[in-house]
């Protein structure tokens, strides 16, 4: 039934385009075409990405990302890889989180040293001041130059510099060595990856043993009433918002279609288990509009 779309049939008849057929939203395209189209979507939306996220989700996406960070609960010294991290939302939250944990640590340390002289307290504070992140680091990796550009500008604007690096890279083929990171996150990015299985394999590869995989993504709403309301909102309102705010209907049409095509919770869980992760689990947010999948590399 899927391949009975007019354009799909046309392409099948042309049949010469290399590669297997895949979906781009509800269209059927080849793998190469899909990568190309998705790149163009994000190139086009990059500047308005954050504004659109706020408009479409009425700001709720911020809460989802906060929940992800709390679930991660990183301690200072954690090395995080945020894939498809584009405009930096996860990275900045990570930095804020470890910074505040660090501050709490320092305060507790100071409390225990009540008998020190002012000089000693001052020195110990100074020493730790240059380590406000406690050696935590986050690498933001994204395939799209425009998104990275926006992210870097944001970082500068908001004053983030320490412990942050930006790398151009493909989730299906990460430019990192094996066993490098403590945590791997991919927030609202895996849906856009052409070969999800490869991305999951790469995630497994670059994580240290004991490392954690976390995926925040749109998922499936099983409640029928809610599902219909959600569909109505997605298909009727979101492309309109895209046109009015970003002057780009098509990219947001793609967005809502790609959400419908993405594997549901259980299926994604199975895919994550398939590449070797253990204790794979998921948590639904807002009745399944969004889900956080988690797994560990042993």
């Amino acid at each position: 039934a899927l391949l009975s779309r007019p354009a799909g049939r046309l392409r099948a008849r042309r049949g010469l385009a290399a590669g297997p057929e895949m979906h781009f939203g509800f269209q059927t395209v080849t793998e190469e075409e899909r990568r190309e189209k998705i790149y163009q979507v994000f190139e086009s939306v990059a500047k308005k990405y954050d504004v659109m996220n706020d408009s479409m989700t009425l700001g709720i996406h911020r809460v989802w990302k906060d929940i992800l960070m709390h679930k991660m609960n990183p301690s200072p010294g954690t090395l995080l890889l945020d894939v498809a991290g584009g405009t930096g939302d996860i990275a900045f939250r990570f930095i804020n989180y470890v910074r505040s944990i660090r501050e709490q640590q320092l305060q507790r340390k100071l409390k225990h040293h009540q008998n020190l002289s002012w000089q000693e307290i001052f020195e110990s504070y100074q020493k730790d001041k240059f380590n406000s992140l406690g050696d935590s680091q986050v690498v933001v990796c994204d395939i799209n130059r425009e998104m990275l550009k926006v992210g870097k500008q944001k970082a500068q604007h908001l004053g983030y510099s320490e412990g942050l690096s930006w790398v151009l890279g493909n989730a299906e083929e990460l430019p990192f060595d094996n066993d490098k990171f403590d945590v791997y996150t991919i927030a609202f990015g895996i849906r856009n990856v052409t070969r999800i299985d490869l991305a999951l394999q790469e995630a497994y590869r670059v994580l240290k043993p004991g490392g954690r995989f976390l995926c925040l993504e749109f998922s499936h709403v099983s409640n029928p009433l809610l599902s219909r309301l959600y569909d109505l909102y997605s298909f009727q309102v979101i492309p309109v918002l895209g046109e009015v705010i970003a002057g780009d209907w098509k990219s947001y049409q793609y967005l809502v279609e790609s959400i419908r095509r993405f594997p549901p919770q259980e299926e994604l869980k199975a895919m994550i288990e398939d590449v070797g992760f253990f204790k794979v689990d998921y948590e639904n947010l807002n009745f399944g509009i969004v889900a956080i999948h988690s797994g560990f590399k042993l």
Binding site: A1, L2, R5, P6, A7, F26, Q27, D231, F235, Q236, V237, P239, V240, L241, E243, V244, I245, G247, W249, K250, Q253, E257, R260, R261, P264
Partner: protein
Amino acid sequence: EEEEEEEEEGWHQLYPGHIPTSLLQKALLAAGSAVMALYDPYRHDMVAVLGETTGCLALPNLRDKMKNHPEGYHILQERPRIRLSTVDMARLQGLPDGSLGREYVRFLEDNKVSPDTRMPPKFVDDEELAYVIQRYREVHDLMHTLLGMPTNMLGEVVVKWFEAVQTGLPMCVLGAAFGPVRLSTRKLQVLATELVPWAIRSGLNASCVLNVYYEQRWEQPVESLREELGIFPPP
């Protein structure tokens, strides 16, 4: 996991660039584009979207006016486009002063505009009506020429009043009503006392401006064309 047909909108494309929309989407677009156009006047695309989503009554009306007029009918058949690629700018420039072609090119140069910046229609669900609105957009600069109005805010508002009377397009009406909001009092005065009454009178008196095959009349003097159409001389 498959979606119902009504969401497969990409497959009912009637012309290149067409995005089929439901009634609800059109309503939301109309509201959203109106707000955005007022909020950010540089969003010309929003003005275009507003025109397309609200023109469901005015456009068929215009199309029928064209169908019932020999020259208009001709235009609907041949679907001429005014673009840099289809119009010989060099030749027009060589025409005598006062001719439509010469004055049109002069207008484009003076105001530093080009006919190629008109948005193609996206949300009109009829392929012939899409052409009608496209024609209206491409003829807009010729309106400026015939009315002798520049492309500043004041000139645009005057042309909008004329177009509102001529076409009945809600977008023109809204533009005519809200456009003056950003003008100074002095300009508003000139607008209210001289320009708008003239524009309205001319608009009412003139025959339908879309029924003129401009591309065949480049040599015609502007004044003669004005008289023929029924546009009163500008103040």
